[in-house]
Structures are given as structure tokens and as C-alpha cells.
């Protein structure tokens, strides 16, 4: 396993980390169908530590109020907490300023925001948008819509045949002066492969293209520094870069996003307000701030190191199960992989696997994981995904693998 770059704890203490950290997550302490819950569906949603839950609870019990507009004490407290969350998020991803952070409803909305403002205003017929076959639907559909509207053309980077990572040779071949945007997933939510962000950004910028990175699976799991990545926008629940925001026209009208409203026209506020129409998700922003605090206290390098250790163990154990085929690169191949593992078992439908695993208290995801084109590319209609997070342990991985073996014999016996 790769070691963390700053003062990595020993493997022993890393192993202890999960046991220690999981105590902060009250939801994990429950039984499902008579078995202790093993939650491995973190690619879909991860659990919230006690500090985040308390931050939300405290908000509603003590200072729930609309932000920005009020002059009374509660409103002042809510505004301060909301904007301090923006600061925390900025620091967490290494943004130059909290003004670079836009809170959106989710990553889908964030990509739509870029597509429908920058995309619609900038793209011309024949301009090319470079995506990959491994993109989440949220990073495909918005560009299909904008391509249809502007006449821009979509291109897709394929996977390498052997390691099932982004084919960087093909990427460089596809990149041309016609490319106006490169929009790629940083860590694939299905393959687990990690895109070489610096190489991508440098090459894209050299031909004058903008880069959007979908960092949904990287920001919570490894240290991500926007400045070092070099992307123009990163999306991860809600983060984008500021400079470009200035030049993007507004999208949704209403609420905080205006400067002056007349009956027939309006002037718009500066970012990030311009893109945050209506009353925002105040409690959630504050909770996100608390989550950043929590992860910062743990240390993202430690989280990353522990997850790599855990991911390697998962890969190794899973690979040893007869009939199992794991997608994406191995932990030692290329840039390596994230801790998650998507797989199939010969002759058994992934949904049947996850149903029986659930009976053993093991929560995994099955389906196309919002990557239908990638599944088509791999010649399958669905897969199972086990995605551990910082609060999972090697022991839980072993429980999962045992339950998987039982499930297989359930269907084949």
C-alpha cells in the first residue's frame, strides 16, 4: 500500500484507525436481519459522524434562521455559520478563496450549472467536448443536452483493454484544437481507477480547452488540492473554481442571486451568490463544514493511507473467490485504484447477490451505478459494488467476503 506523504502512521495503527473512527458513527452500531451491519455502500452515500449530526441538530434547536438578509441575532449566527462553512470547504479542497465555492443541491446540479451557463454561452457548432466512457450519467447527460443545443460534438476516451483505466494514449489522440472542454471523472465510481489529473489538465490547457473534474469519489477519500490538480472547475457535491464563475451568466433567477430587480429586468450579484438562487440549504452547508472539520482532524493523508490498505485487502480477498471478476485496474497497476471494487460473479445476477448479502447484514450496491455506457462497454448490464470508507475495517471486509461465498453457494448449490 502507498504510504501517506506526511508522517504516515504504521500499518498497525492504521488498522486500528477504522476501529477507532467507526465509534464516531452512531448509525453503524445496529443489526440488520439479525446480523451486525456492514455498510459498504459508501459510493452512493457515506455515513455522518456524531459531530455532523450534532451540528445539524444544534442548528435547528438553537439558531435556525434565513441567512444574509436578516439583521437579528439568530440570522447573524446562521449567516456566520453558513459562510464559515464555505471557508472550511475552501480550505479543505485548497481553493484560493471561499468565493470559489458554490453550494449546489448536488454534483448533478453543479455540472448542469457549468453546462447550461458556460457551455451554452461558449460552445459553437463543431466544438468538441471530450468525455470518457466511464462517466457517471451526471457527467454525460448535461453535455448531451448542451451539445444538442449548440451543435458541439461529444468524444469519448475509451478504456485500456488490459487494466481498464482511462486510455491516456487515446486521450491525447482525441485532444485537438477543436476541443473546448475536457470533462472527466477523477476517480471512477465503478472502476475505482484514478485519472492522472495533472497530465490531463496540462494537455487540455495546451490546446486551449477548459477542464472539469468530477471529484465526487476523490474529495472525501484522498487529499485533493484544487490548485495542484489544475482544473478549471471541480465538482464534488458543490465545488468549483472562481475565476471562470465571473464570466458565466446567471442560471436560475430569484432570491439572493440578484443585485437589483425591476419589473422588466434585473442586474445580478457577483459569484457565488449569482449561482445560489433562493434560500440555500443552510443546515446542510453547516453540516458540510463540520464534516470538513472532522476529516481535517483525522487528516486526509491518514484517511487515504488507511483506505488504500483496506482497498488492497478487499481486492485481494475478493479476487480469491472463484468465479469473481473485478473491474478496473489492480491496486498495483498504473496510478492504482480507490478502495471500492465493482465485480460480478459468473452466472448470478448482481441484484440477487446484493439481496442475499443484505440478509447477512452486508449493504452493497448493485445495478449500473449510473454508468450505463460503461457497463455496455464492459459487456454487462449491471454489477455489484463494495465501497468501504474510513470507518470500515479489514474484519468487515472478511465478513463481506464470507457472506459473498455463502450467497454464491445459495444460488449454485
Amino acid at each position: 500500500a502507498r504510504q501517506a506523504s506526511s508522517a504516515p502512521p504504521s500499518l498497525q495503527s492504521q488498522q486500528a484507525s477504522g476501529e477507532l473512527w467507526r465509534r464516531d458513527f452512531p448509525i453503524l452500531d445496529q443489526s440488520v436481519h439479525g446480523h451486525r451491519l456492514v455498510y459498504l455502500d459508501n459510493g452512493a452515500t457515506s455515513q455522518k459522524p456524531e459531530t455532523v449530526i450534532r451540528a445539524l441538530d444544534d442548528y435547528y434547536r438553537s439558531y435556525n434562521s434565513n441567512v444574509h438578509r436578516g439583521v437579528h441575532a439568530l440570522s447573524a449566527r446562521a449567516t456566520a455559520a453558513y459562510e464559515s462553512a464555505r471557508e472550511k470547504v475552501a480550505a479543505f479542497v485548497g481553493a484560493a478563496s471561499s468565493r470559489e465555492i458554490v453550494f449546489t443541491r448536488n454534483a448533478s446540479e453543479a455540472i448542469n450549472l457549468v453546462a447550461q451557463t458556460w457551455g451554452t454561452a461558449t460552445l459553437r457548432p463543431g466544438d468538441e467536448i471530450l468525455l470518457s466512457v466511464a462517466e457517471h450519467h451526471s457527467n454525460l447527460v448535461p453535455w448531451q443536452m448542451v451539445a444538442q443545443r449548440t451543435g458541439a460534438v461529444l468524444r469519448h476516451v475509451p478504456l485500456t483493454k488490459d487494466t481498464e483505466e482511462l486510455d491516456m494514449a487515446a486521450f491525447h489522440d482525441l485532444l485537438s484544437p477543436r476541443t473546448r472542454l475536457v470533462a472527466l471523472v477523477h476517480v471512477s465510481n465503478m472502476l475505482g481507477c484514478i485519472a492522472p489529473a495533472a497530465e490531463i489538465c496540462e494537455a487540455a490547457h495546451a490546446v486551449g480547452a477548459r477542464v472539469l473534474l468530477d471529484c465526487c469519489q476523490s474529495v472525501p477519500n484522498m487529499p485533493v488540492d484544487v490548485g495542484r490538480l489544475g482544473a478549471d472547475w471541480i465538482v464534488a457535491s458543490a465545488h468549483k473554481m472562481y475565476e471562470l464563475l465571473e464570466s458565466m451568466p446567471p442560471w436560475m433567477g430569484g432570491g439572493e442571486m440578484i443585485q437589483d430587480v425591476f419589473l422588466d429586468r434585473s442586474t445580478y450579484a457577483a459569484p457565488p451568490s449569482r449561482f445560489e438562487a433562493g434560500t440555500p440549504a443552510i443546515a446542510e452547508a453547516i453540516g458540510l463544514g463540520a464534516a470538513c472539520d472532522y476529516l481535517t482532524t483525522l487528516g486526509m493523508h491518514r484517511v487515504d493511507a488507511y483506505e488504500r490498505e483496506l482497498g488492497a485487502h478487499l481486492h485481494e480477498q475478493l479476487q480469491a473467490v472463484p468465479g469473481v471478476r473485478i473491474y478496473g485496474p489492480g491496486p498495483e497497476e498504473g496510478v492504482g485504484r480507490a478502495a471500492l471494487a465493482s465485480f460480478n460473479v459468473d452466472g448470478i445476477h448482481p441484484t440477487d447477490i446484493s439481496t442475499i448479502l443484505d440478509q447477512s447484514g452486508v449493504a452493497v450496491r448493485s445495478g449500473h451505478m449510473c454508468t450505463q455506457p460503461l457497463h455496455r462497454e464492459l459487456g454487462i448490464s449491471a454489477s455489484v459494488r463494495a465501497a468501504p470508507y474510513l470507518y470500515n475495517t479489514k474484519h468487515e471486509v472478511d465478513v463481506f467476503v464470507e457472506a459473498l461465498k455463502e450467497a454464491i453457494s445459495f444460488f449454485t448449490m
Binding site: H68, R69, G70, V71, H72, A73, S75, A76, T79, A80, E83, A121, T122, R180, C201, E202, H205, A206, G208, A209, R210, G230, E243, L244, E246, S247, M248, P249, P250, Q259, D260, T267, Y268, A269, A270, R274
Partner: protein
């Protein structure tokens, strides 16, 4: 030079941080009541502070002989007017050069922030920023041959300054209710040439231009590549391996209104003084008002 904090010492002491907020508000009312009136002619967009919960106007007058500014302000909110009064007392008597060098941090030293909500604090800061911007305009115009005086403001004679020049941004539309174009009215689409990746120097220049001019369009192209044969340049310390030495700038801003090309260029040079003293050794410029660029 007396710092604003010192100048405001008298007030700051009276604004005892231990006093309950309501007592502080009473003080603000007192300050407000002592503020010289700002005639209604100055209640125009050019003097208006944006981003306040109430309406606030500030205007400066330059005493050329003494090279000092005197400030006046008004607000329809008594408490805000009290805050404006603090700044008027604190900043009057300083030279434009001294004014622009003050860090906004001094506002905290006034000890009023605890009593203020975030929106009022923000308004307080915006007042200070507008005052600094007005001082900067004067500062930059002074730097060169100021040429023909752009005319006296309506209230220039009333304050008795020796050679009053109303300093609210030269050449901006005066008086009337005509709204000045706001930043954000039109959003510039980044051009293809500007889409290249920016180095740290370019990024810093962009940020400063953005802040100083609130441009409706801003294109900054690093043309250092074209000049790569300047081997000497490439190895020049600060420019470093990035070699950010040659730039082409195209900028559209309402702040250029009524200014000659020379003055516009001087404004830009002033805002980029640091970079021009450092790695950047060539800046080609195209400066336009929104009307000239046809974007309003």
C-alpha cells in the same frame, strides 16, 4: 503619518468594547448627529456604496495645496450614518496615497464589529472600499499630468477647500438619477485565446484587474511563448521557468469613461505595479468603455 486607528483614538476610546451594544448604538447616533451634511446632489449612483442594508453615499474633496482629502457622507439609516461618520473622521486629512495604503483590518480595531450583524459589517467594509477606490482614482490621476480638470462637482465650492476637485471617479456620469452600468450587467464570455491555462503571474494580474476595474470583459493572453527567443528573459529570477513576460490585455470597464487612453493605461499600470516591477516586461493594452465596446 497618523494611522487611522490613532486618528480615531478619541472615538475608539469612547466606543468602550465593554459597553453593551445598545450603548454603542447610542454612540453611533451621536456620531451621526455631528456629521456635516452631504447635499442631496451627491445622492447619486457614483457616490453610492453598494451592498449595504440601507442607502449610503460618500464623497471626497481634494485640497491640492495640502494634498489631503476631506470626506463627507450620508445615509438614510442613522446607525449606518454613524458608521460612515467614523470613517469620515478617521480618513479626512490623509493624502490619497496614504488612504490607499490603509489595510481594511483597521476597521476591526475600531471595536464596533461585535455589535454589528454580518450585513452591517459588510456594508461598513464596502464604505471603506469605495473611499479607497475614490482615493486611488485621484492618486493615479495625480501621478501624471492631470490634464484639463474634468470640472468641479456640484458641491465643490461649499466646503471651502483651496482647489477642490470632486473625486468620485473622474469622468463618471454626474448627477441625475441615471444608473451607472453595474458589474455583472453583462457577462463576458471567455474568448478562445484567453482559454489557455494561466500561470501564477497571469492569475494574479487577472485578480487585480478584476478588483480594480470590475470589467465587463477581460481578456489577458500570455504571449510569452511568442517571445521565447529572449533567452535572457526566461532565466530572469522571478519570471522563472513559467517565463510569464509578455501579455496582451483587452479590458472593457465603465471606469474608463471620460478618460483619455493615456489615463486609462496609467490606471492599469498602477493596478499592476507589482507585476510590472517583477517578471512582466511587456503589456499590450486595449482599454474600452462599455459604450465603445458596444456592450451596453
Amino acid at each position: 503619518m497618523a494611522t487611522p486607528a490613532t486618528r480615531l483614538g478619541v472615538e475608539a476610546v469612547r466606543a468602550n468594547p465593554m459597553a453593551p451594544p445598545k450603548a454603542r448604538y447610542k454612540q453611533l447616533l451621536h456620531f451621526a448627529s455631528r456629521l456635516d451634511p452631504l447635499p442631496a446632489e451627491f445622492h447619486t449612483p457614483e457616490h453610492k456604496v453598494e451592498g449595504c442594508v440601507s442607502q449610503v453615499w460618500v464623497a471626497a474633496q481634494l485640497d491640492r495645496a495640502a494634498n489631503t482629502l476631506s470626506w463627507r457622507a450620508d445615509s438614510d439609516s442613522q446607525l449606518t450614518k454613524g458608521l460612515a461618520a467614523l470613517l469620515v473622521v478617521g480618513l479626512s486629512g490623509l493624502s490619497p496615497q496614504e488612504t490607499v495604503q490603509i489595510s481594511p483590518d483597521f476597521i476591526t480595531s475600531l471595536g464596533f464589529q461585535q455589535a454589528l450583524t454580518p450585513s452591517r459589517n459588510n456594508g461598513f467594509l464596502n464604505m471603506f472600499r469605495l473611499m479607497q477606490r475614490k482615493a486611488l482614482d485621484l492618486c493615479l490621476l495625480q501621478g501624471g499630468k492631470a490634464g484639463a480638470s474634468p470640472g468641479h462637482g456640484p458641491g465643490a465650492a461649499t466646503t471651502g477647500a483651496a482647489a477642490g476637485e470632486e473625486a468620485a471617479g473622474p469622468g463618471r456620469p454626474r448627477g441625475g438619477g441615471e444608473a451607472a452600468p453595474q458589474p455583472g450587467d453583462a457577462a463576458a464570455e471567455p474568448s478562445a485565446s484567453e482559454q489557455q491555462h494561466m500561470g501564477p503571474v497571469a492569475a494574479s494580474m487577472r485578480r487585480k484587474l478584476q478588483d480594480a476595474f470590475q470589467p465587463l470583459r477581460l481578456e489577458l493572453v500570455d504571449e510569452s511563448g511568442k517571445h521565447a527567443h529572449h533567452a535572457g528573459v526566461r532565466s530572469m529570477g522571478k519570471a522563472g521557468q513559467k517565463g510569464e513576460t509578455h501579455f496582451a490585455l483587452s479590458i472593457v470597464s465603465p471606469r474608463f469613461q471620460g478618460l483619455s487612453t493615456l489615463k486609462r493605461h496609467r490606471l492599469v499600470y498602477a493596478s499592476l505595479a507589482e507585476e510590472l516591477a517583477g517578471s512582466v516586461h511587456a503589456l499590450q493594452m486595449n482599454t474600452q468603455t462599455p459604450e465603445e465596446a458596444g456592450v451596453v
